[in-house]
Point group: C4
Chain length 249, copies 4
């Protein structure tokens, strides 16, 4: 195996498909959102992605089975269109590898009829804002205007988007495909289910499908409490009077 390969698990057809990706990244926003989307919308796995650019290990499961590190592609049906949703264990570990995997994905979904790519990521602010925005950055103006109307906030982010979440919409443009990266505002140090929920709500609005967000909301509340507690303790330590501090390292 000297190239990234995509192995189809079943034959399938698609209705006006759009690609969505939620791979490991900042605050795991994309991963949490995409996995929830697949679960609640009864996604069916249609293909698996293996790459020599992934780490050279296999994972051992609890039941005694091992498996390759991989990304998986699910078909998720919605009233207006089918979604192809990519989730996975890892991203490629080198720059050359990232380009190869992203290109292999685009090649595959293009042939499946996909002409629009939405990647989900987190946008790290280092703060725990109560209201967290959903930012966007697009590979052309037309699609940006379309997403802006649905409340995605454009032009407030800066810097670079690293990895698949950025390369996919970037490379998509070379194939004249629309591409948008949707980023949930997040602290960056924590798994942020609240941000994932925000992204998913926006996504369902944009793509006109309904999704029961209840379980994610519950999980988000629990996580939120824990994070706020940790953040509170950190702040206290940073601003606390000297006599309270016995040992700092």
């Amino acid at each position: 195996m000297d190239k990234t390969i995509i192995v189809e698990k079943k034959e399938y057809s698609l209705k006006k498909p759009i690609l969505i990706t939620g791979l490991p990244g900042i605050g795991l926003v994309g991963q949490v959102a995409a996995r929830y989307l697949i679960k609640k919308m009864k996604g069916v796995k249609v293909a698996e992605i293996y790459s020599p650019h992934f780490p050279h290990q296999v994972l051992m499961g609890k039941k005694g089975l091992l498996r390759m590190l991989k990304n998986s592609i699910y078909k998720v049906p919605t009233p207006k269109r089918d979604l192809l949703v990519i989730v996975g264990d890892v991203q490629a570990i080198t720059s050359v590898g990232q380009y190869e995997v992203a290109d292999a994905i685009l090649e595959y979904v293009y042939e499946k009829g996909v002409r629009r790519v939405i990647t989900i990521g987190g946008y790290s602010t280092g703060k725990m804002e109560k209201e967290r925005k959903v930012f966007g950055s697009a590979n052309n103006k037309r699609v940006m205007e379309e997403f802006k109307k649905k409340g995605i906030v454009f032009g407030e982010t800066k810097g670079a988007i690293i990895g698949v979440a950025g390369l996919l919409p970037g490379l998509a443009r070379l194939r004249k495909m629309d591409g948008v990266c949707i980023m949930g505002e997040t602290h960056g140090n924590y798994v942020d289910s609240t941000s994932a929920k925000n992204v998913l709500e926006k996504l369902s609005e944009i793509l006109e499908f309904k999704i029961d967000i209840g379980d994610l909301e519950k999980e988000a509340k629990t996580r939120e409490k824990v994070i706020r507690k940790i953040e509170g303790e950190i702040e206290q330590q940073m601003t606390g009077s000297p006599k309270d501090i016995t040992y700092i390292r």
Copy 2:
């Protein structure tokens, strides 16, 4: 040489062959077991594996000869089947290299009729258990059940298997080949001949051949004493009363 190559040393045929690998890894469990297997069962070298992904050095032998770093494939005859056993100096040094070498091996043995791959490794626990288990992780349920019946312990390991020992059964699945990684429980900091012996005993049971384990047992006892002595000293140092300690760093 820009790809891994497998050089045949002689023509040979195989009876219902199974692939076994014991390359350098945790506790050298796999390496010790596989080398002993080859030696006691009178294995014959049939092929050598060279790769640009191995370190760029040659080894100087005591008698004035130099040789490439390599992996070697031995044919080891047993009553029920022939084994192809791979041992070697090194594993590939990059992730891409590991995938390439593992794939080249699978390609080669598949054409030789191999449909089942057993890799031997160590499973590090950081402890010197008196009774050390032989764990397994398989690439499908059927082969797992089969090995479980022979006393291999499944479902008690977690995490990842790094390198060839994991990639081979992982990649084997993509070719619909059975794959199991058998791991001897081991401390992890020492060469563990006891664990290698345990693995080899199980392996001979599973594959229905007899092997004189005597020499390995002897070696294991010697090593065991040395290791227990070192461990004892470490423990004493860690728990000894302050006055016993003259210098700790």
Copy 3:
């Protein structure tokens, strides 16, 4: 995408073309000079260079659009000839990548009729000379003599030229193309618009075109003041009498 690709943005023809490059490097001399050249001479973008050897990220712009990291090729018309000017965000991040990108550029421009390559860089001296020279290093004597007559200083630099600025003239020789690296003398720690101006003036002389250098001169003066102020402070700190120093790290 497993190779560097050059995407043409429009059909175009060229009159006796010469390649000029100004990619990120020492003092940003090349980048500042080349960008100014394109702007003032009304260059038109004709092609874009993408490479898996660039970092795996996309840049987010202020207006909500994202784009790939890239190098761009502009056609810049001058009275005697057309220039192909390459500017860009980055250089390749590995040695193999650098060779590939440089070779892809040469291949492309050779087919466009280019037989002479001029790369612009900075030559770091660690000093802020009032009068800064324009150095050169050439891939053959004939072109060196030609540039020497125009006041480019040869034979006063030593060491290596790293990256595209060196590889292009170096590799050009293998295709029997003339190649010169023109280096503006510079401190090395600062963006040096003065040095860029010096280079550009020499370049316009050599290539016989006129360019309004006014804006660059203005920018250079502003930068110069700031740099001299910083350098002055550093020097004062280094030579100040002990009593003046409260804390040095």
Copy 4:
């Protein structure tokens, strides 16, 4: 340029050719010996080796010319046979690169009729022996016995030979070519012309040609004095009585 290339500078024929390499390595023994051999025996450059696995830089010469990093192949005539001698600025910077360059060299010289490869290196002992041996390690017994008769010392070295000096004889064996690495005993921290001289004397004996070793001998004596002085000072510092030491770091 995505592969190592060998560019012929002229047409040439060879009489019973043998390959000799002296690339940068321990004590520069190989490089000093090979360069001296080329100079004294009036070698003629016949080919140049370029590789994307070399560092991505060009060298600036004193006279204003730049050139690629490269290895060069010289034809060196001797009474009994022609030698192809490889010297150069660098070796490849990755393992994969080292294998590729070594293989490209073998491929090239094999087609030129070369069936025997002698690489020259240094063998580091960390000591400045007065009499320094010339060690050898060979890729087969026959050639080892042949060289042993000429006074090359086999079987007293251990460990690995890193880089081209090892890979060439190692890979040569896969092509059924004889290969020997000749190593001058050396301290390892200094350029060792004495060791280079020793190697060259042995080489001329083995290959039955005469070479005026005078200039190298002179250079060796000068270097030797300097090195012994440095070593003497180091030793004094290490063993000097405490009161002599004002500051040790």
